[in-house]
Amino acid sequence: MEVLDITREHCPMTFVKTKLRLSKMKRGERVEILLCEGEPLDNVPKSVTEQGDKVIGIAHLKSGIHSVVIEKC
């Protein structure tokens, strides 16, 4: 599974990079997004779900960093 690290990004590039990555993926493919807590963690999974893709799981990796696995639908 490919990994997209957006831990150094800020709004709106957190959404932009996630959306661009998902737009290049085929249905059923998964990507692991590494992001920071706060605004990215609150909003990236929500926006992905709203677009019709699936959040498979969210895990806390280390201080302030989370992993979100998304499946393209």
Partner: protein, 160 residues
């Protein structure tokens, strides 16, 4: 019936660096969360989408060309406050890069990549002697108020 796509339409009037950053931040962010995004560039805002990013003689007619040269393109966009002769936008771009915040050029590219639609104001183009060929290819259409109102109907509209 499928849910109608949410829509954001921006009237980009200002050619100021900071206001353009705000406009393209909203545009790219909204496009990334699946909004239909329309940007209507008018007056100074047209400088942001000129093909020539620097000081070039653009437009038709002597005065229009001199005016076009003085205004310049996206690279010459002044800061709305404390511009310091054009030094501040460069300093701010440096600070944006240093702090890993998207620059104006990156925000414009992201807006384009995510399918935001660019339109140019017909009346402003006539005043400034500009033609569609003076703009980046992403500016697909020239339109007036009636068409823009039709386009922005049933969505959010912001004037920047």
């Amino acid at each position: 019936m499928a849910d109608k796509k949410k829509k954001l339409s921006l009237v980009v009037f200002s050619g100021d660096f900071d206001k353009l950053v705000a406009a393209f931040t909203l545009a790219s962010g909204a496009a990334a969360v699946n909004y239909e995004v329309n940007l209507f560039f008018t007056f100074w805002g047209l400088n942001a989408v000129k093909k020539a990013k620097g000081h070039r003689f653009t437009g038709k007619g002597f005065l229009a060309r001199v005016f076009g040269f003085l205004m310049g393109g996206r690279k010459n966009a002044p800061l709305s406050r404390m511009n310091f002769g054009g030094m501040s936008p460069r300093l701010m771009t440096g600070m944006m890069k240093q702090r890993n915040v998207a620059t104006l050029d990156e925000l414009v590219e992201a807006s384009i990549a995510l399918g935001a639609r660019f339109y140019a104001c017909e009346m402003s183009m006539v005043i400034l002697g500009l033609t569609l060929g003076d703009f980046i290819p992403e500016v697909k259409e020239v339109m007036g108020v009636a068409k823009f109102l039709e386009l922005s109907q049933d969505g959010e509209t912001l004037f920047i």
